[in-house]
């Protein structure tokens, strides 16, 4: 149980570990501002900071491929889609007084429960595993690819079916509207 602590010591952190914690705090802060700010577009832009911070965390853990995909998909596409949607609404410059739906306590409860579940799963799964940050990168593209397509093919394919279902659903929904108009 104590292997990790013995071999590396929690009281003498390396530079990378300090950076990891600092970036993590910044990411958490950006995420908190995202959900508490009353300026809608600012929320989307703080989300960029939070997602970018996550990418930096991946980089610090030598998972280079995951980090760039994170930037490509979330910052490059999802946030652009979000901003596109916000521009179609009447998102004002300055505060939106009606931005609060009154669900704060429920949202907080759900968020805390989700965070607790995730932390518990991650801690339970990786207990004393220690990433050797000085050796060759363990999250390089080829390693990630091998793991994904040898050990995790089934979940990967299941996910793609899920995405396909969402795609078909979106098409069905958008076609229905047109028929109503006619």
């Amino acid at each position: 149980m104590n292997l990790a602590a013995q071999a590396h010591g929690f009281l003498s952190p390396t530079g990378v570990e300090i950076a990891f914690v600092l970036v993590g705090i910044a990411t958490l802060g950006a995420a908190l501002v995202t959900v508490t700010t009353r300026q809608l577009v600012h929320a989307a832009l703080w989300l960029v900071v939070a997602l970018g911070g996550l990418a930096v965390e991946y980089l610090l853990l030598t998972a280079e491929f995951i980090a760039w995909v994170q930037v490509l998909i979330y910052v490059g596409s999802v946030v652009v889609l979000l901003l596109f949607g916000l521009m179609l609404t009447k998102a004002p410059i300055g505060r939106s007084p009606d931005a609060d739906s009154g669900n704060r306590p429920v949202a907080l409860a759900v968020a805390v429960a989700a965070a607790a579940a995730l932390v518990w799963v991650v801690v339970d799964a990786f207990r004393t595993t220690w990433i050797d940050l000085d050796g060759p990168a363990q999250g390089s593209t080829s390693v990630t690819g091998e793991f994904l397509f040898q050990h995790w093919v089934l979940p990967f394919e299941a996910l793609s079916v899920l995405l396909l279902a969402a795609l078909v659903g979106a098409i069905v929904l958008s076609r229905k509207k047109k028929e109503d108009e006619n």
Binding site: G76, V80, F84, T141
Partner: protein, 322 residues
Amino acid sequence: MNDALDVAVRLLIVFGVFLVLPLVVGQTEHKVMAHMQGRLGPMYAGGFHGWAQLVADGVKFAQKEDVVPKDADRRIFQLAPAVALLPYLLVLVAIPIGPSEGAVGQVVDAGIFFVLAVMGVGVLGSLMAGWASANKFSLLGGLRTAAQLLAYELPMLLAAASVAMAAGTVSLPGILNAFEWWWLPWQIIGALVFFVAGLAELQRPPFDMPVADSEIIFGAYTEYTGLRFALFLLAEYAGIVVLCGLTTVLFLGGWHGPFGADGLGWVWTLLKTAVLAFVVIWLRVSYPRLREDQLQKLAWTTLVPLALAQIALTGIVKVAIQ
């Protein structure tokens, strides 16, 4: 200490390239456009062939008052030009220009993903500018920018994926090491798709609907003046350099050439990039602007299927030659 010095020198060189090449492209655009369209304006400043036109433009931009509209979202308005420009500087770090160790700013393992991801971030600058200006034309420009990006990101990625499949790696120097001359005809569809989608992502004519001056003044950049406006223009030219460099590396064989591959690799890279940049300028002066619906149609009904066909072709040939 030597490592730190090495990194510093590399970053300085990349920064120098970042400052020089976009301006060279800008100057070339002035001259090429002037010749192709018989424009006399840019031919006077400085005497010989109007060489000082770019300097005059720079002085003009620096003199203009930096105005922020009263209703604008001040901080985001002022931040937007930096967000638009800096990603291209980061991308340049990963583009290899020669075969040796020292000919690339930094070898990135997942190079293709890095460059495409960071290039996508640059568009956020236009969106921020479009929204924060508190101007109808800016907002429309921002909307068009976003729609265009969403449409053209996919074919660009698919075309790049085809090259990665062919080379069996996603690192840019790795792709060039695997390059053979017959990749050129093999990947030509992917190359065209990549280049066209890249042009659309840069909002260069004929894909300049988001900044169409006859309709929405200058799109997301309508409210900008002086140096901040110049930064947006610089981002466009830096984007041309990056797009042409990437097309060269991914599809045209980068440092490989018919002769002189040993010491002159970087010359080949620069030459190919320059020719592509010329084509970008050429397209600007010779093609009319595509309408918004034509833009979307081209992306979804032509480029995406073509890119998918290229991926299928790549896969078949790859299996066949193994």
